[in-house]
């Protein structure tokens, strides 16, 4: 058996590409793609408030940049400490080389880009500790981790340290001061989904005026001038990064395209059932961290399936789960959790997909694919069912009276 399928550590490269595409180049490409996103985040969260408002200090202006810098630097230093203590690397030059080769900077950068802007710095640093040391180095270092370190650290930090992460407008959220100034709403676009009324999620069926109007138009969603974590708001930059990475063969196009496509189709159906227009799926694709997650997280070479058909199954699962978490669950965002959840199944999918590829009997293949399809369709169907107007109609007048009576 071991001779048949040896599952080594990623990333895997075609022999023909090996001469030009190296791990080093792949990771450099990711960093290159992150640079415009970081710059845009700096412009949106630092420079724009500095220009538009009085009294914004210089430090507040460069803060987004510093936040990302602290994330990256902490990650590199922490890994250097790890190499020094546990791998007995004792010279500065060798340490630098090791840290560079293990791409220590990437988890820190990604973490800083997905956390709310005004997260306390110690929370970010603890997040880096989780990401680089616990979820990466303790699993064996670069290439051995089973989850995306930044993503797992993000989920841990956002749940464990939720008390320290500011939520109100005065102390700071993902809103920068300028957004506080000109936006009349105090919530991020997707938070509208989690607003409950009479114990029912009614805003699934909210109209354009509630979901998009307060933030301008869908163009603002595409450009990224909407509130949100630093990395995730600009859809255009994410798409450009995707094109660049695909051209450079750093990532394959299947996962992002199928993932986003699945979300689009399911939210289109949900939108149609709720009587919404075409803007509804577009809104769902452009808002939140979907594009950022699809391009940078779901394509991570180490923790995602390697076989082409495995990638398709993986991406479909992501799309179905993201819609389920986002539309039915109680948290506004479903990208991080669905990617982590699907990463759990990566070895399983890989094995399954590999076996299918060598199966000779077409009937067996069809049955197995059909089973997976039925599973995904069932989950998507459940999402559509739970978000249908019949399930989410506001409490009737009589129920409301009953509720007020109980309250009194």
């Amino acid at each position: 058996m071991a001779n048949k399928f040896s599952l080594g550590t990623g990333p895997f490269l075609r022999a023909s590409d090996e001469k030009i595409i190296t791990t080093k180049r792949m990771m450099n490409d990711v960093v290159i793609c992150l640079v415009p996103i970081i710059l845009f985040a700096w412009f949106k969260n630092g420079i724009l408030p500095y220009i538009k408002l009085d009294n914004v200090s210089f430090l507040a202006m460069v803060w987004p940049l510093l936040f990302v810098l602290v994330g990256g630097l902490t990650s590199m230093l922490l890994e250097a400490v790890y190499f020094y203590c546990f791998k007995n690397i004792r010279t500065f030059k060798a340490l630098l080389n090791e840290v560079y080769l293990s791409y220590a900077v990437i988890p820190g950068l990604l973490l800083a880009l997905v956390l709310p802007l005004y997260t306390p710095i110690w929370v970010l640093m603890i997040g880096c500790l989780f990401a680089n040391i616990i979820f990466k180095m303790l699993f064996g270092g670069f290439g051995y981790n089973i989850f995306n370190p930044a993503l797992l650290a993000y989920v841990i930090v956002i749940t464990a340290f939720s008390f320290a992460i500011p939520t109100n407008a005065t102390s700071g959220t993902t809103f920068n001061p300028y957004e506080d100034y000109y936006l009349e709403t105090g919530v991020t676009p997707l938070t509208n989904y989690t607003m409950k009324q009479d114990d029912k999620l009614v805003n699934i069926g909210a109209d354009y005026d509630t979901l998009v109007k307060p933030y301008g138009s869908l163009a603002n969603f595409a450009i990224g001038t909407i509130p949100g974590a630093m990395g995730e708001t600009s859809a255009i930059l994410c798409i450009l990064a995707f094109i660049y990475l695909v051209i450079r063969k750093t990532i394959s196009w299947q996962v992002p395209v199928i993932y986003v496509g699945t979300v689009f189709v399911i939210t289109l159906i949900v939108g149609l059932v709720n009587g919404q227009g075409l803007w509804y799926p577009v809104f769902n694709v452009l808002s939140g961290g979907l594009l950022f997650g699809a391009v940078f997280m779901a394509t991570e070479p180490v923790t995602t399936p390697r076989s082409p058909n495995g990638k398709i199954i993986f991406a479909l699962g992501l799309g179905v789960l993201t819609c389920l978490f986002r539309l039915v669950g109680s948290f506004p965002e479903g990208v991080a959790t669905s990617i982590l959840f699907m990463c759990l199944f990566t070895p399983l999918i890989d094995r399954f997909a590999a076996k299918l590829r060598i199966t000779k009997d077409p009937w067996k293949i069809a049955v197995k694919y059909a089973a997976i399809a039925i599973l995904f369709i069932a989950i998507a169907g459940y999402t559509v069912f739970k978000t249908s107007p019949a399930q989410n109609k506001p409490a009737s007048e009589q129920d409301r009276i009953a509720i007020t009576e109980v309250l009194e």
Binding site: N55, V56, L95, I121
Partner: protein, 376 residues
Amino acid sequence: MKKVLLPLGLALSLIVIFVLGVVVAESVTKNREKVVNDILVEEVKAAEMRALNSAAETYFEDFDKLELDEEKPLITSYEDSDKNKVLARYQIIKENAEVGILYYIEVVGKNEGLRVAVVIEPTSRNILGYKIVVNNESTDYFEKLDETFFNQFVNVDMKKPVFDFTPVATITLSSKAIIRVMKMAREQFYQDIDEELPIPSVDFTFVSAVQWLSDISIFTYTMSDGTRSVDAKLKYDTSKRELSFVDADTVLSEEEIEALVATANQNKPAARITAYNPNTRVFTVSSTGYNGPIICNITLDENGKVTGYTVGEHDHDESYIYSPQYSEPDPIINIPKLIRESGDTEGIETITGATVTSNALIRAANVAMQSWRADK
């Protein structure tokens, strides 16, 4: 040495990043709070300006703009409290001319910070109306003030000397605050145009005064200001020989009270009961004659008729009465005798040559009988 440097450097740089990060984050958070607060303050200011504009628009349709006028000094303290102040003076401009004035006034009601915009028409000197912009008063309490109370401040002539409104009992503080706003607007207006506040020229004329028997220091003065009759309770201070205001049957402004007391003091009782025994009905009355007070002891029966009248201490010029030129009877002896005999003062005539003293003696009996009747 080199062996220590590397781990030390790593640890130090981590610590430095942490400390610097925390310090910078602290400063950034503070800055953010300040910026957001500034935004909120600006929003409040904008909301206030909207309210002021709408107040102006209520009374001047299609005015062009409100212009802040900072030239003239504003009242910064009123009624000994710097929490009552005129915050701003705006000119209401229409076609490049000032058509109205808007005062933005803050006063203390039950709570601090009641802010009202008062709109004034400068040529007719009328308070056209007002708008409550910021209201910190307890609502259930403030809402007890009804429209009649609020309406009395609309279209008020500031020229009128009597510029007074009635506070509402049980909502005194809030209602007084609104009244204070109007007074402040009026005073600020006259200060701005550099004119004296019109002093109330209330003219009270004396009608009559009756002394109380239950408390002989109190007099009821009946006064008239031409349109109405006011019964005011005044207290006589024997050492200062002055009357002071206690109460009145109608609500009077401070200016009116001043005028009323002044008139009363000009009409001080020429005869005054100084002692009274309710059991024997003996009145001791001090009445001013030609040469000073005469003390008269007057006894009344149950029907108020004079049954006894004797004159006690007096500083009378007896030499005059007993002089050869004087041929008439002595009033000190004769007038009390005549009153005693008729039981009343009606028809008693003064004695020629001693008119003032005769009148004093007749008045003494009148005061006693009047007070007795009033007490009945």
